[in-house]
């Protein structure tokens, strides 16, 4: 790959209650690009994604070997604070999960927990986050309404705004459109395209067309292994592995 890597995994293995969920995954995630992870259900895409911000720590009985580096720093190093890591690596979940607070408080949550108390500064960050997430015009008059009253697509963009407000380097997206209708999906896809100027995006998706549309790089996973990873155009047009070709052409999956 020609672009500089921001996240590198080296021989990463993960067992979940004894089940081998990731098998020696080694990949590079290029900076300021959109990388898609595709593969059939249960192949370990989401598990891999949750390794990058160590959200798997929440689950009992998980064992990880191998190395993941972010900006050449091992994210499992004892000196590294997991809170700092998650500040740098934001995440958008499959199902929109706004907190049961107002729209404003949802976006301001991140800056607040990281110690910003100045009201003007918060206002600025909230507006900027919502603008970046292409939600500002829809909600600017009702920032004090509950976030739970928004539509699914708006909720998901709110979650993206919430993530952007912390100014991460990397944004992880775990099938961000799977709960949305086509119109909301296309809004999110346009957004992802804009985001890559400032951020590195890693997106897990079930939908191969989506991967082809939004990503610069694609990794194909199967049964816990990373089968192939490269430029999206090359993966979709000239895959080197037969398994990849079979999946992409819809022969299984």
């Amino acid at each position: 790959m020609s672009d500089a890597a921001i996240i590198t995994t080296n021989n990463l293995n993960l067992w979940y209650s004894g089940k081998h969920a990731l098998e020696s995954v080694s990949m590079k995630v290029p900076k300021n690009r959109v990388t898609a992870l595709i593969g059939p259900s249960g192949c370990g895409k989401s598990t891999l994604l949750r390794c990058f911000n160590r959200l798997n720590d929440l689950i009992d009985n998980v064992k990880i070997t191998g190395e993941i580096t972010l900006d050449d720093e091992n994210i499992h190093a004892p000196s590294l604070d997991v809170v700092t890591l998650r500040k740098k690596v934001g995440m958008v979940f499959q199902k929109p999960n706004p907190f049961p607070k107002t729209i404003y408080d949802n976006v301001a949550y991140g800056p607040r927990v990281h110690g910003i108390r100045d009201k003007n500064e918060l206002d600025r960050i909230v507006e900027q986050g919502l603008r970046h997430a292409a939600l500002w015009d829809e909600v600017k008059d009702r920032l004090d309404d509950s976030a739970l009253g928004l539509s699914g697509g708006q909720q998901q963009r709110l979650c993206i705004a919430r993530t952007l407000a912390v100014e991460p380097e990397v944004i992880l997206m775990d099938e961000p459109c799977s709960a949305l209708d086509p119109i909301a999906t296309s809004k999110i896809e346009n957004l992802i395209d804009m985001l890559k100027e400032d951020y590195t995006v890693i997106i897990v998706t079930h939908n191969m067309q989506q991967a082809a549309r939004v990503s610069d790089y694609t990794g194909f996973m199967y049964l816990g292994k990373l089968i192939e990873c490269g430029r999206t155009k090359q993966i979709f047009e000239h895959p080197t592995e037969e398994l990849t070709e079979n999946y992409i052409t819809g022969r299984f999956g």
């Binding site: 934001g90 995440m91 999960n97 049961p100 949550y109 991140g110 110690g115």
Partner: protein
């Protein structure tokens, strides 16, 4: 039925038998309806009989004078029936108990749901359940012997029977209720909120304090209200440690003053009053007031929990109940009020406490911006851990006190001989047998009625107006203080039905009291049976009743049995409902029929502890036997539950 022919050897029903079986179905349904309506009937009977016996006082003295009359002196030459000091007493005891109980419970609940490893959780949860299982008379006994003494010595006052003692003891008794309900509320905050917050880079403590606890707030509020309900309705424990002087503390924050609650008044005076007198009807007037207070408390808790459940199932589109601006103001006002109250109370305990707390508080606020999130998290987790340790320590102190002092009293003679010398010597055999008779009778009555009601509620109706009425009836019954059951049993069964003070009257009273528990637990286990099982059976042409009896009930039996055993445990430890309906203090013989009075362990312990000097050995022995009996029932219930849980998991 058009297709009346033989298909593969299966006979279809003929017209006549079809009609017969429809009739049978209908009558079964009717029977279940009546069992379900029973709870509502009982509630209205309770209200009816309390009002019937209580209304003369509202006429004679006047409702207003009764409520705000400043003096309660029913036995004076010119009797005065003002229950104002009793209402204030109840309020003050409750307030003190909540100040003691809420912080500890919240810390413990957060610890269990968020910080504890699965192994620690497996120890803590049964420990909390154990705390809930200790009978109130045993709490009262512990309070009387240990807690009041401790207070007497440490504050250097003539007697430790004070507001403080009552509040601490009732606070302890409210712990398990508040802990388990709020732990439940925190654990059921959707997992996505937690992940969302952590993924933004919030620390665990920030996630807990800013997302999880706010999201669980209405559940926690309901927990506190249920705790208040428990405290307001408690009789035996409070009357053993509160000193029972019907005065308002002077000054009002003097927590070392004795006081008297509504329930304690009933417990003390009901046994000595002549039936039909003005005093008698005044006591029933108190019961009416008490019932109304607890009804309001419990219905508001139920309403909050209901609101919560609806919000969980239909999340979108609702605006917050109170606009955020107003909400902030309300929260601020509440905080200031709480602070002021706390300071006043601290000043009352010791003059230097308030300044010290104020100083610590301002140091905290001044230092906060300079502290790293890690430091804050560490200190918060320390406090939470400390709260949990205190709760555990309380449990250990109570258990070890009873066990260590009780074991020397235990002997073969003690459990097989009748009491001698007013219980100072001899054994407690008739009391053990009496208690067993009482609970056996109670469960024999409550189980069929409760299971029937639950089957009707779950299997035969959709949610509608009727179920709402029945459910409200069950909730009300559940929240009714045990002493009110006692009064009702006395007025209705002992006097009106002319059963006399008898085993039967006690059994029925206890049965009414445990009925809601049986209904609830049965409902839960019926609801856990997947709908597809019912549909599968109905699709084969089975009738409703065949489906229920052959497919739904068998897998629900473990849950029903667990509920029944829990009810037995609760009934075995209760004193207030049987005090006026079934028991005598001393009886050398076992009852010959259900119309004879009996001895019972909790009442025996109560009398030994309060009325018989010099029985300390046998007090502890009785307390230990009662504790073992009740905990034994609970242990069996938990074992049944886990056994079947493991088996169904596979």
């Amino acid at each position: 039925m058009k297709f009346l022919k033989k298909v593969n050897g299966v006979f279809c029903a003929s017209e006549g038998t079809a009609r017969l079986s429809a009739l049978k179905e209908q009558s079964i349904k009717t029977i279940f309806f009546f069992t379900a309506a029973f709870a509502v009937i009982v509630v209205s009977f309770i209200l009816l009989f309390l009002l019937r016996d209580g209304y003369p006082i509202f006429i004679d003295v006047g409702a207003i004078n009764f409520l705000i009359g400043p003096e309660w002196a029913p036995t004076a030459a010119e009797p005065l029936y003002g229950i104002y000091p009793l209402i204030i007493g109840t309020l003050l005891v409750t307030l003190g108990a909540m100040i003691f109980s809420v912080p500890l419970s919240l810390g413990c609940a957060i610890y269990i749901s968020e910080l504890a490893t699965p192994r620690i959780k497996a120890v803590l949860k049964p420990a909390v359940e154990l705390l809930a299982g200790i009978p109130s008379v045993v709490y009262g006994f512990f309070g009387l012997i240990v807690l009041t003494n401790f207070i007497r010595v440490s504050f250097d006052i003539p007697t430790g029977e004070t507001w403080l003692a009552a509040s601490v003891l009732l606070g302890i008794m409210a712990l398990p209720t508040i802990i388990s309900v709020s732990e439940d509320a925190i654990s059921s905050v959707p997992h996505e909120y937690k992940e969302g917050s952590l993924a933004i880079g919030a620390t665990r403590w920030q996630t807990i304090s800013r997302v999880l606890v706010p999201a669980a707030l209405s559940g926690i509020a309901a927990a506190v209200i249920l705790g208040i309900g428990r405290v307001v309705g408690e009789t035996m424990a409070v009357l053993m440690v509160a000193g029972n002087a019907a005065i308002i503390p002077d000054p009002i924050w003097n927590i070392l003053s004795p006081l008297r609650t509504l329930t304690a008044t009933l417990g003390i005076e009901m046994g000595e009053v002549s039936v039909g007198s003005e005093h008698y009807s005044a006591l029933f007037g108190i019961a009416v007031v008490l019932l109304i207070i607890t009804l309001i408390i419990n219905l508001s808790a139920v309403a909050i929990l209901q609101h919560l459940r609806e919000r969980r199932t239909a999340p979108a589109g609702r605006k917050p109940l109170i606009p955020p601006g107003t909400r902030q103001k309300i929260v601020f006002a509440a905080k200031m009020l709480g602070l002021a109250l706390l300071l006043v109370l601290l000043t009352a305990m010791s003059w230097w406490l308030a300044p010290v707390v104020l100083l610590a508080g301002s140091l905290w606020f001044a230092g906060r911006p300079f502290m790293s999130e890690n430091t804050i998290q560490k200190s918060a987790f320390c406090l939470i851990g400390a709260a949990t340790l205190i709760v555990l320590a309380i449990l250990l102190i109570i258990l070890s006190d009873i066990v260590i002092n009780g074991i020397p009293a235990l002997s073969w003679e003690f459990i097989t001989q009748p009491p001698m010398d007013l219980g100072r010597a001899g054994g407690i055999f008739p009391a053990i047998v009496g208690t067993l008779y009482l609970v056996a009778g109670a469960i024999a009555i409550a189980l069929p009625l409760g299971v029937g009601a639950a089957i009707y509620l779950v299997e035969y109706t959709r949610e509608g107006r009727i179920t709402k009425v029945i459910r409200t009836g069950v909730d009300l019954l559940n929240g009714t203080p045990s002493i009110v059951f006692g009064l009702f049993g006395f007025a209705f069964i002992v006097l009106y039905l002319n059963a006399g003070v008898s085993l039967l009257a006690g059994q029925v009273t206890l049965a009414l009291m445990v009925l809601p528990t049986v209904i609830r637990t049965t409902e839960e286990s019926l609801k856990n049976i997947p709908q597809s099982l019912r549909e599968g059976s109905l699709a084969l042409g089975a009738t409703r009743w065949q489906t229920i009896s052959k497919v739904v009930i068998p897998p629900a039996v473990p849950g029903i049995v667990t509920g029944a055993i829990l009810s037995i445990g609760r009934a075995a430890g209760e004193t207030a409902p049987i005090m006026f309906t079934a028991v005598v203090f001393s009886s050398r013989f076992l009852p010959d029929s259900v119309l004879d009075p009996v001895m019972a362990l909790p009442y025996h312990l109560f009398i030994l502890a309060t009325n018989v000097p010099g029985a300390s050995m046998n007090q502890y022995g009785t307390a230990l036997v009662l504790l073992l009996l009740v905990i034994g029932f609970y242990a069996v219930a938990i074992m049944v539950r886990t056994h079947f849980q493991n088996r169904s998991r596979g």
